[in-house]
Symmetry: C2
Subunit: 475 residues, 2 copies
């Protein structure tokens, strides 16, 4: 029994294996009998619920309404998007049988719901009074992937997809930027992840979009992970799907559209950005268990009572707390909740009770301190914000240290070999992007906002360059 807490592969040894070990041993997920379809176990799903709660609140504050669209899209409708959008061809799961019947029009299990939203909007948008429409849905989507990895790439994953319609292109573009801002705040204030945010190059933007914006996280193996995108579509889809409204001046117009989404891929970001050789390290804001109470010598009379008293006190204050009074040893429990990334451990034993103190330990640094009983609540609360800041700062420092200005292809290669972003002046020519991809398997992650020019020559072609772009290898 005491060997339940198997060791996990060390990051240095095999980062990919470390990742898989953590996913499974921290009980975030499990495999099902269908390849690529994972089970989101309670501990993993609870993190997603925290992300949902934050985003859902932020969305509603800016007027977004939730809807639920059908799981299936008729092939005929789906093909209209394919026709409209060159390069849009996700591999799909297709239903061909309904009850005893073979279906005339096959049903695609939704890989994304643009077509359904467009079809619905065409029915309900008649007048400028019906605008804006800011709809979002929380659901799962299916893509028939060949290679899958927990949270990072799956045949089924959970996400939210927002689809909006506006009278003017300016409003729609502002919406795409506003939602990017909300995603960025999720990283900064909740996940303790510093995202690089910016606009995608034409080559990398979403098929059908006029502009794609993204947040990118940097992993400890030096690869970037696109963690969320927002798209400004112009009115191309609304023209293709016949979405028309009577404008304020009485004319028929096509509204302007956006879409935006983040998915359970964010769990992959959290695991990799913060994790260490002992397992998960969770930011306090999304940790399903924020404080674990571990009684020491729990058979000594009074110890469990005291532990329960602390638990109730913390619970009352709205803190997610767990008391582990199982018959495992304290040592086993320390390792177990370290692996699960619980931000704060509270230890209490007979001597502590005598002295009216407890020991608080921080998962992210391992620091321990003894705290008076009366100060538990205030200390725990301030520890949460301290831990959040430290985790953010650590990730931010890593990001800074792995963002390298490059002025030549050699420097680009060196930066990519080191890992992280190669920050480059760029002429804007897709040929240069292609060359970098061909040479180094790196892609333009985005043109980050607010980056200062640091040169005027594209190191690939030598032509005039006025854009700052971040290249990296990516997941």
């Amino acid at each position: 029994m005491e060997n339940k807490n198997d060791s996990i592969t060390r990051q240095e040894e095999d980062f990919a294996q470390w990742y898989t070990d953590v996913c499974r041993k921290a009980e975030l997920m499990d495999y099902s009998s269908v390849k690529g379809f994972i089970i989101y176990r309670p501990y993993g799903y609870a993190i997603w619920e925290q992300i949902q709660a934050y985003l859902d609140h932020e969305f509603k504050e800016v007027g977004v309404e939730n809807v639920y669209m059908p799981l299936v899209i008729p092939q005929s409708l789906f093909d209209r998007e394919k026709e409209h959008v060159e390069g849009f061809a996700p591999e799909c799961l297709v239903a061909t049988q309904g009850g005893p019947n073979v279906l005339d029009d096959k049903l695609i299990i939704r890989p994304t719901s643009e077509t359904l939203f467009c079809e619905h909007y065409a029915k309900i948008i008649k007048s400028y009074r019906d605008l804006p429409k800011q709809y979002n849905q929380w659901c799962s989507v299916v893509r028939w992937e060949k290679t899958t990895r927990p949270f990072l790439r799956g045949s089924e994953f959970l996400w939210q997809e927002g689809h909006t319609m506006y009278e003017t292109s300016e409003e729609a573009r502002q919406d795409a930027l506003r939602m990017l801002e909300i995603y960025d705040s999720l990283g900064r204030d909740v996940l303790a992840i510093p995202f690089v945010k910016g606009i995608k190059t034409d080559k990398e933007k979403f098929a059908g979009a006029e502009e794609t914006y993204s947040i990118e996280a940097l992993m400890p193996d030096g690869k970037a992970l696109q963690s969320g995108t927002t798209h400004y579509f112009g009115n191309g889809f609304s023209r293709a799907f016949g979405i028309q409204y009577q404008s304020r001046s009485g004319k028929l117009e096509n509204p302007y559209q956006t879409s935006w989404g983040v998915s359970t891929r964010l769990l992959g970001s959290i695991i990799m950005v913060h994790g260490d050789d002992n397992g998960l390290v969770l930011p306090p804001k999304v940790a399903p268990i924020q404080v674990v109470i571990i009684p020491v010598a729990q058979k000594v009379p009074g110890v469990l009572d005291k532990a329960r008293e602390y638990k109730e006190m913390l619970k009352k204050a709205g803190i997610r707390v767990k008391l582990d009074d199982s018959d495992h040893t304290p040592g086993w429990k320390y390792a177990e909740y370290e692996m699960k990334g619980v931000p704060v451990r509270l230890e209490v034993g007979p001597r502590d009770i005598e002295n009216k103190v407890v020991v608080l330990a921080k998962r992210n640094t391992g620091e321990k301190k003894t705290v008076n009983e009366s100060d538990i609540l205030t200390t725990v609360t301030s520890l949460f914000s301290e831990i959040h800041k430290e985790m953010y700062q650590k990730a931010f420092n890593y990001l800074l240290e792995h963002t390298t200005e490059v002025h030549s292809l050699d420097e680009l290669k060196a930066a990519l070999d080191k890992g992280g972003y190669a920050k480059m002046m760029w002429c804007g020519d897709e040929a240069c992007e292609n060359k970098i991809k061909e040479l180094y398997q790196a892609t333009a992650r985005c043109l980050p906002f607010d980056e200062m020019s640091f040169g005027d020559t594209c190191p690939v072609c030598g032509k005039k360059a006025d854009k700052v772009v971040f290249f990296a290898k990516a997941y």
Copy 2:
């Protein structure tokens, strides 16, 4: 524009058409291009979100954890349930194509997830220490239905499905009863619906269950609507799926299982139980808009400012409030929000402002009263609880008036013709149930808890009867 608020069919004229009119015109749902797959529009989905919030909180209070299982079930796994459970044969949507490949093992789009939970539990339950497991998932399910009606029967609907495992049969049975209690409290405290709760007859219980419990709501057309069920499975499934754990005494045992669920069918209950010829009447606890503010003569300077002030005040107090400052007439707005069932309307015009008063109108009774500005918040809050009580009481009175003790088949027929429940002493023999179904198309809804015997003879067969059962026609 002013005729947007089309009249809806009167209930007396055509109840089924009234229902469909309300669903569509109150913008609860819309049809999609796939038959039976509806769109849950924001106003309908928001009611479901309120139900989710209540239940999710109650579930977590008793230790339930949320998970997410795959959308698809391999045909081979699915067939194991079919083999184990006679009579379990939902019509399914079946995927046969994944990307470019024809699938060897077809994938069933989940109609329910018993098999997936059992397969997972078989992997993760090893010891008595791993019990109980109380898992729940919020998801959509697909049944390939021939006849569909919004919310009542759909090819896709939203639900929660709880699946639990316990060491003892007693704990599992208690769990089934506890969850039924939570569903009942949802009706009583949130939806203002008095459910009849009880145990199903063997004929009507869920295939595979040892006991099925249900909550039944009574519709104004006299038909019952099963609104939620909980099942006690014994350890039959866990034996069939090889779920075994080492017990406290060191032996290998099969755990005892339950499942329980409610779905968006509850929206159908709400619509029918409370609605009237003017449309929806929503219980305040789940109304997406609890108070609508309608300014009168809104172009008069100061009116909109005042309306906004009231809106902010109510919003700050946590009330879901909408100010309709559109250019529709006040009359149009009254009708619109009546149709949408908004519990309280607040009217404010120039004269009200002069007198520092507003008019508050209750949707359920139409009563209006003038209230001093300083009393708005307390009055609105007390109106909510008053409205809830009145709605519950009205539905409860209807239930009482339509529950008829019957002592003969003639009385049974008369009670069913009148509409509602025929309350009957029953011998327990399925043949008597079958006969009633054959003669009158009525089914045993349940054996309600705490019903007193009022005779000792089964009116169908004349044999000794010691059970009280409610028969009704049902949706």
